[in-house]
Structures are given as structure tokens and as C-alpha cells.
């Protein structure tokens, strides 16, 4: 497991160095390309503000009212048997439905439990390792006019379930 941590540490700096050297070798105007790409980052960050505000306020209300704790107490025993913290259940549920909503929940979990806590890490890996099945399905099939989606939804949701289980297993093994 130490190897995974080591790769995590080295991977990004080495990748950045490699891309810069390769870009220079290919005579790309590196700095100008960087600035052009970076502008898109600002656009993305600003455009998700409304999504996050909406979701974080809803979650805050739900939690501050005590409804979250109440609900947790019901599902905790069942989840505890398989070693899953109850706090992660809402995130696992919403992840396939809405990416931005899940992002709000992830940051909420990281904020309230700490980024280096088990729950904080599990939320981070869960958010990073799965994708929004419903979004992909609606956008991709909607754009090209597919009406009968066959097994696509079933396959996608089953894949999500496997992804969630794998995230829990890996995080439990590493930390």
C-alpha cells in the first residue's frame, strides 16, 4: 500500500514536467496554450456556483434541523454490519443522479469530518472514481435521438454499484 501513496505523491509533478518538456519539444507555445486552457477553468468554477449553493443550502438545512441524525440512526446498524459509515449513504445514492449535487455532498462531508478522516477520504475517492450515469445517459442518448436505450441504464447503475463497493474496499485497505 506504500507504493500507492508514493505513486500519488510523484505522479502529478512528473506528469506536469513531462507535458511541459514534450510541449516544448513539439514547439507548442506552452505558456500561451496554458493561459488559453486556464481561462476555461475560471468559466467552469464560476458556472458551478449555483449548483453548489443550491445543494449545500439544502444539505445544511437537512443537517441543522436534526433530520440527518435521525435518519442516520435508522440505517446505521444495517450499514455497520458491512463496515460502511452511514454518513456515506446519501452520497452513494445521489452520485449516479447528479454530479454537481454529489460534489456538494462530498465537500460537505470533507468539511464536517475533515479531509484526512476515513469518511472524508472515502467521499473523495467515491466522487473521483465514479461518474454521473443519468447525466451521461440523458446527454449522450438525448443528443443523438436514441429512444430505446436497451440495457444501458441497468448496466450503468450496476457498474456504479460495483464502483461504490470498490471505492469502499480500496479506501478501507489503504487507510
Amino acid at each position: 500500500m506504500e507504493i500507492i501513496s508514493l505513486i500519488s505523491l510523484w505522479f502529478i509533478p512528473i506528469l506536469i514536467g513531462f507535458i511541459l518538456m514534450y510541449g516544448t519539444y513539439k514547439k507548442v507555445p506552452t505558456y500561451e496554450s496554458f493561459v488559453e486552457g486556464g481561462k476555461e477553468g475560471i468559466k467552469i468554477a464560476v458556472s458551478i456556483i449555483p449548483f453548489l449553493v443550491g445543494m449545500l443550502v439544502a444539505i445544511s438545512i437537512f443537517r441543522a434541523s436534526g433530520a440527518l441524525d435521525y435518519m442516520m440512526n435508522f440505517i446505521r446498524p444495517g450499514l455497520a454490519i458491512i463496515g460502511v459509515p452511514a454518513e456515506i449513504a446519501p452520497l452513494a445514492f445521489i452520485r449516479p443522479i447528479s454530479g454537481t449535487a454529489a460534489l456538494g455532498m462530498t465537500s460537505d462531508l470533507i468539511a464536517s469530518h475533515g479531509p484526512d478522516s476515513f469518511i472524508g477520504r472515502l467521499a473523495a475517492v467515491l466522487q473521483g472514481s465514479t461518474d454521473t450515469t443519468f447525466y451521461v445517459l440523458t446527454v449522450y442518448f438525448g443528443a443523438v435521438g436514441i429512444k430505446k436505450m436497451g440495457d444501458a441504464l441497468k448496466v450503468g447503475l450496476l457498474a456504479d454499484l460495483v464502483g461504490i463497493i470498490l471505492a469502499i474496499v480500496v479506501v478501507s485497505l489503504v487507510w
Partner: protein, 197 residues
């Protein structure tokens, strides 16, 4: 679906506060939640700008295209029905590469284009073909090298080492991708058995 969940979270919370006598906390939570969301987005800007900038260099240098060529044999196994020189193959590969580098915005148009080509390959029918279902399965468990946003959030909340989740995320996502391809295969064989029987 999101609409229902969003409304339920809020309304149940407010109703619960009425019964529970936690109205004061709820009032505070409304404004705190909104403020926190904005702070978070501002914090995300740094990482998003840097990473998308670096990735633009990779794209301009032709690294994404190079990687696509490298992965062609693997993709051929996953999509046996797509001919090698068909444009669909190119779009599928570039979509996967964009996802790999966390370029969600670049991945979406490429993915739609890939779907278009797959539809044409299927005779323009409005029914999802085998390859389309596979492509979707691969996309929903998209392998990501750098989960940029998650790293940014962890940085925001002062994680000791914000990037230490990269390795575990990669391991989890790789296995998930393999699993989703197997699930897709299993459904396909089930379908074709039914048709024969």
C-alpha cells in the same frame, strides 16, 4: 430526479425543525451553506485553471492523439463491432483520453460525436446498439488519472496531503471500469441467448 431529492432535503429539514425546535439552527444553516458553497467555488478556481492549462498544452502537443493510438488495440477488444478505420473509433478513443485526464468538458462533445457515429454504424435506428451500451458503460465508470476537483476541495479544507487520494482513486476506478465492461458483456450474452432461444 435531482429536483425531487433537492426539494425533499429542504422541506423535510424545515418540517423537522418545526417539530424538533431547531428553527434557529436552520436559519443559520441557510446562510452558512450558501456562503460555504461560494467560498468553495472560489477555492476551486486555482486548481481548475492550472490543470486545464497544463492539459491544453498536452492537447496542443498532440499527446492525446498519441495516447489514442497506443490504446487502440485495447479498445478494439472492448468494441468488437466497430471497424478499425471507422471515425467512431477515433471519437471513442479521444473521449476516453479526455476523461482520463479529467477534461470533462472536452469529453462530452467527443462522446456525443462518438454516439452519432455509432448510430450511423447501426443504420440510424433510434434503438441503442450493442456498442452504444458498451460505450455508455465505459463512460459511467470513466477512468480518471487526476480527480482535479476532489483534490481542490481537499486542498481547500487543509488536507495534510491533498493528492494522496490519487492512487486509491485510480485503483478503484480501474477495477470499476473492468467490472462495468464485464457487466456489459454479461448483459449482451444474455440478450443474444434470448434471441436465439
Amino acid at each position: 430526479m435531482v429536483n425531487i431529492i433537492w426539494v425533499l432535503l429542504t422541506v423535510i429539514g424545515i418540517l423537522f425543525a418545526m417539530v424538533n425546535g431547531t428553527m434557529e439552527e436552520v436559519n443559520e444553516a441557510i446562510f452558512k451553506g450558501a456562503a460555504e458553497a461560494v467560498t468553495l467555488c472560489i477555492g476551486l478556481i486555482s486548481v481548475l485553471v492550472f490543470w486545464l492549462g497544463i492539459m491544453r498544452i498536452a492537447e496542443d502537443a498532440g499527446l492525446l492523439t498519441k495516447l489514442s493510438l497506443l490504446f487502440r488495440p485495447i479498445v478494439k477488444i472492448i468494441f468488437p463491432e466497430v471497424p478499425n478505420d471507422h471515425p467512431a473509433m477515433g471519437y471513442i478513443l479521444s473521449n476516453m483520453m479526455a476523461n482520463l485526464f479529467g477534461l470533462g468538458n472536452a469529453a462530452t462533445p467527443l462522446g456525443i460525436k462518438a454516439m452519432e457515429e455509432l448510430k450511423e454504424l447501426n443504420g440510424g435506428k433510434t434503438e441503442a446498439s450493442r456498442s452504444m451500451v458498451t460505450f455508455l458503460a465505459v463512460n459511467t465508470s470513466s477512468i480518471t488519472l487526476i480527480p482535479t476537483t476532489v483534490i481542490a476541495i481537499r486542498m481547500n479544507y487543509n488536507a495534510a496531503s491533498p493528492t494522496d487520494i490519487v492512487g486509491p482513486t485510480l485503483v478503484a476506478t480501474c477495477f470499476a471500469a473492468i467490472a462495468s465492461i464485464l457487466i456489459d458483456r454479461w448483459f449482451y450474452y444474455r440478450r443474444s441467448r434470448k434471441r436465439k432461444g
